[in-house]
Symmetry: C2
Subunit: 373 residues, 2 copies
């Protein structure tokens, strides 16, 4: 029997409850398909941060690096300023392990209600491949008081002087700046991943950008896409500006097969995608380094107000677990998990947010049993 | 009788056809409500650029500055690289005249089909106030070959060295960067505009940002919002991360009254808004400097493939004309224009894209007649 080692980081809020259900299901899948998962728990999140000031240490990251997969719940807490936990834990892991693919399937399962009129499961079935290590997520920026001139380049240069130790005259007009970085290699590798995926699906790939305004970063992105597509002559390609893509997700989701997008736009359009597939309760995600440590997590947050109430919907987490199994090479088990999620929905064995009456802790049991049947 | 001077820039593709309809309607509104508009035409766009290399000159901008309002059709042409006309004309005007408010009403008119299930005109009726002069639209960025190190800050510093004349070692790994700038004053003025508007409506204002990742620019944005709201104790406020706001536009548009957003996120969410109100054919916009020259334009582009076919839907342009009248203080005329647009839709006097059989050039006549009735 194969044994896999995996890390588990339940995190904050509803995190521990939904991860518990996910583990029930993955363990059942192992029993059915002949493998074992050996879980190692890691404690991170708001509680630890508030008590010790620690987010995630270099040692912990090194330890995590021994595992092919991390099963992640959620982080976030109203007592902590926005950005601290997100950047200090979640983004830290994505960047440290160079998880350059953020994989987000947008699929309307049978029995799920979509807010879109006249759309059926066969109309909503595509995958967003979000670049996950560059763009405006690199965390470079600053704040400074600066001269009142509206010549921004001048101002930025001044801000840079501040950063690099030269004085600058101050004034009441305060500025902040933020820098996004896109590299040729960074774009190429995620596009290749997306093209490979498209080849296994309907052979259609849409690239998202805003090359008509952010001409520098997305001009490069587009150039790399033009080059990369030469290697995949059997894949049909198109460009969509990010503003337009939000329209077509809503109006014609059936047009999409695989979508590749820079990091920040990917954040936005996958939440929209989550909604058209029935809401955040149903949207899974994987942060993938094909040759390293990957992390799997629901797209939703820690929902502090539902913590400990046994009402959170664990389906997004269970589905993320299916992506985790896929990354381990357990494809049959991965498919079985998604099928059993669909069975639970059709049987109305779901939580209140989906119109059911079951508790969080019932769902994992139900789905695990269905898999083992 | 009052006479207003206004500039007119039809632009590319379907621009001239839709602007012609808009002018018919605004002129009729003048006839009905007792004012005259004295139009001055300006020639800009792809054709001129391809023939002369000129986008918009300082002289033309100065000339435009004599008018309180510019009626703008659309720009864009497949023969020109993305970004050249957009940045060289449209954004140039927005920035030159410091049109810091991009006003975008999202309203489902009676008789219009929305792609959302179970949503009615009373559910979709809000206004997005998009900041229009800062953020990632400032056009600061560059491309350079740089060392392979993944320490982006280092790389950026190197890129800056290039920019400011110092040499940097080159390598095969190419990078591009883009800088966004948010200022205290720039945020405050657009927020005040949004609060003022909310006070005239349902007294609810939603601020959009991504302060949990782009902590520098949107951290400042949020801080300014916190301060500004103190001056408007009767307005209820809330924050939405940009990813979440796309979900709620689709799931619960009835929650929104006024939404204030940084520039780039505003671009994205107003296209989504346009779709839920029935599509780009129906989405108007105003670029407003309350004390200077403002510009009114449909949100859609120049649709080159429909050029000269007399099939383009002019309703977004006509509605933008209503915003133009509003900016001139002709509020009754402005309302009459929107009512007559609604009448034309209910009478199915619409173009093919909306299920009708009328041509572009019929629509202005129909609506003008309705106003004069
Ligand atoms: C929590 C936040 C940092 C994160 C992101 O912006 O990537 C989340 O929204 C997501 O999409 O995974
Ligand atoms: C054409 C483009 C520059 C413009 C923008 O991004 O602002 C358009 O999409 C809009 O929303 O007015």
């Amino acid at each position: 029997m194969t044994t896999y080692n995996a890390a588990c980081m339940p995190g904050d809020g509803i995190g521990p409850e939904i991860i518990a259900e996910g583990r029930k299901v993955l363990d059942a899948a192992g029993e059915k398909f002949g493998f074992d998962i050996n879980w190692t728990d890691f404690d991170t999140g708001a509680e630890k941060y508030l008590q010790t000031g620690e987010l995630i240490s270099e040692d912990e990251l090194k330890e995590l690096g021994k595992f092919p997969a991390i099963y992640f719940g959620a982080i976030g807490d109203d007592r902590v300023k926005p950005g601290i936990l997100e950047k200090g834990i979640l983004l830290a892991i994505r960047f440290y392990f160079d998880q350059y693919v953020n994989l987000r399937p947008i699929k309307l399962l049978k029995g799920v209600e979509t807010p879109l009129a006249n759309k059926k499961p066969e109309d909503i079935d595509f995958v967003v491949v979000r670049e996950n290590t560059e763009d405006f997520y690199v965390g470079i920026g600053s704040r400074a008081k600066a001269g009142k001139q509206r010549d921004h380049l001048e101002v930025i240069r001044d801000l840079y002087s501040v950063k690099f130790g030269i004085d600058v005259e101050t004034d009441s007009d305060e500025l902040a700046y933020q820098i996004g970085v896109v590299s040729r290699e960074g774009s190429k590798r995620v596009m290749e991943y997306a093209f490979d995926l498209a080849q296994k699906r309907e052979k259609k790939l849409t690239s998202v950008d805003k090359a008509n305004v952010l001409t520098d970063v997305y001009g490069l992105w587009r150039e790399v896409f033009e080059e990369t597509k030469k290697g995949y002559p059997n894949v049909t390609t198109e460009y969509n500006f990010v503003d337009a893509v939000t329209m077509w997700f809503v109006k014609n989701p059936e047009w999409f097969d695989v979508v590749v997008t820079p990091n920040m736009f990917g954040d936005i359009i996958t939440d929209l995608g989550a909604m058209i597939q029935g809401g955040l309760g149903l949207a899974p995600g994987g942060n993938i380094n094909p040759k390293g440590t990957s992390m799997f997590e629901p797209i939703h947050g820690s929902a502090p107000k539902y913590k400990g109430k046994n009402v959170a919907n664990p389906l997004a987490t269970i589905w993320s677990g299916s992506l985790l199994l896929d990354s381990l090479g357990e494809h049959a088990a991965a498919s079985a998990v998604v099928s059993s999620i669909e069975h639970s929905i059709l049987a109305k064995a779901v939580t209140k947010d989906m119109g059911g009456s079951m508790h969080t802790s019932d769902i994992g049991d139900w789905i695990a049993k269905d898999i083992l049947r």
